[in-house]
Amino acid sequence: MLLISRENENRVTIATGVISAGFIGIYGILAVFTHSDIVFYEGMRFAVGFAVLSLLYALIFNSFRNRYEELAVGTLFLINSLLPIVLIDYLGGANSLFITLLFPLVVIGFVLGFWWGAIFDLIVAGYLIISVFYLGVGIPAAATGFASVLAISLLFYYIGAKYRDALEEKNDLESSNLQFSANQNKEEALLAGIADGVYVVDMDRNMTMFNGAAEGITGWKANEAIGLKCWTVMNLKNETDISVCQKDCPALNVWNTGENILRDDTCFNRKKGNKKVQISSSYSPIKDKNGKLTGAICVFRDITSRKEVERLRNEFVSTASHELRTPITAMEGYMELIENAKICKIDDKAREYVTKARGTALGMSNLVKNLLTVTKIEEGKIQTNVTKFSIHDLATEVIEAMGPSAKNRNLYLKITESTSSTVRGEKAVGRSLNVVADKEQVREVLYNLVENGLKFTLEGGVTISIAYEKDFATVCIADTGTGIPADGQKHIFEKFYRYDNTATREVGGTGLGLFITRSIVEMFGGSIWLESQVDKGTKFFFTIPRSLD
């Protein structure tokens, strides 16, 4: 209601003309009723005058307003100023009530626009009509008053229109902006509401989106980060403090595999203060509706405190294990002295019990040793000394060392002679092929697996066999023992997992051996798995990278 658009202004000027015509009509009727020629002619004069004015108004308005707007407006203003002057004079000079009405009308018409001006106009007109019939003011005066009031309001409306146009455009722009930013704001509100950091990179790895949580975690403001290369903002390093951005960039990996990637091994330094932040992150590719890659999105969260807790826990286990070692060693030492006939004289019963106690102490000692190994694995602090060696020769050494142990249990322990295999088109005798790894660690793996095989076998024995592929050697340790059922196989490599049945409960062991074995195998770049059937036996397989020559 407040604003009239440009096209409506045309209608307004037409309306003015119509009103003028109407006036003439009304005048005519009034003249008929009052039977007054004077009224008629006087009225006619004013009405015509008004009509001419309005037409002039309309003409100037429509023809010249685009090019001579200022001039047109000025002229109309002048003309319309004359009318009130006449009116004021006619209706009582300075004492005229008309003046008091004129002022608010002008203001209303200017500020609020045509319709409000018109309403006020009608009120004024009503007053004038009343004044005609009740107050004895002359009809012409009333009519002219009404007409000029209308004209004045139109004029001031026009002046105001320019101002209102600008206002309207601004409002339109604002409301369309509001609409646009309402939509954008919905997305942004969502992203701002997420507690996890979110960022998006394009195919050139430029940062294109960076949410509020990302700002908080990294110390970068979104407007600073957007447009920079991903690695400038998120200079990710792995657990050994080496930058991953060139060789192991998660975004590149995601684009290569086309799949989601989860990582919790990366960290970066905050922009301000350089504090190290460890994150758990999930990367996904972004594709357009044709399935073409357009970028990658990363959702990440700060896990520094979680990692710190894990580190402290590991440190505690390590310290506790170290503390346990000394008393256990002392215990074992004393028991060895008791068992030593040169030092102590004890009866057979005592000897039996001390021997059992010593066995238990030995078990404890192994457990502490394994716990310490596990803490070192968790910290990534295992030292490796990688060399080239013959896996066949190492396996033979292990068999020699463990032979007596197997013999004690009436089991066999052997290595099957590897048949010659064809490698790169050449026949090669199996035993001469080398592998690349830490020799002592592989020895430990062989030892663990053979020991397990012997432990869980009642009849028969353990056989080691080695097969060679192009890039790696596969070692198989097969036993003829009790086997592991499928549900046990799933958890067999977990810490402290021991498949619980009567056969294994008596066997002893720490439950850490296979966890450590798997950690070592994965450390030298191999993989480990098993095949097993209950009561038939178990086969453990692991791979070691082959050397290139």
Binding site: R325, P327, T329, G333, E336, L337, N340, K342, I343, N385
Partner: protein, 122 residues
């Protein structure tokens, strides 16, 4: 019979090693830290010193250094005992003049006796 100086800060281990060595017929004297070890080495003139590495005040390596620098003890046989198994420590021990270097968690009491016998026979 040969005299062995046992340098070990842990009371139980000192007890156990002494008992074992005595059972094998050796004369045993003990020291519970590096300073005492140096005093005893000069005073008792043992043929063999079993030397613990991790000790308070001065470490086994420092003791060995001083022993080799002292004319009375520069030729005494020394077997170093440690809880650590870093290769760098092994080399350090050997380079400072230890005759043998044993890691406690990897050897039994009998192994220590055997090694002592072997070193004394050289």
């Amino acid at each position: 019979m040969a005299k062995v100086l046992l340098v070990e800060d842990d009371v139980a281990l000192r007890d156990i090693y002494s008992a074992r060595f005595m059972a094998e017929g050796y004369d045993v004297v003990t020291a519970s830290d590096g300073e005492m070890a140096l005093t005893q080495a000069v005073k008792e003139k043992p043929q063999l010193i079993i030397l613990d590495v991790m000790m308070p005040k001065i470490s086994g390596f420092d003791v060995l250094d001083i022993l080799r620098a002292t004319p009375e003890t520069k030729d005494t046989k020394v077997i170093m005992m440690t809880a650590l198994s870093q290769e760098t420590d092994l080399d350090k021990g050997k380079s400072l003049g230890a005759d043998e270097y044993l890691v406690k968690s990897q050897v039994t009491l009998t192994d220590v006796i055997d090694k002592a016998k072997a070193v004394l026979a050289r």
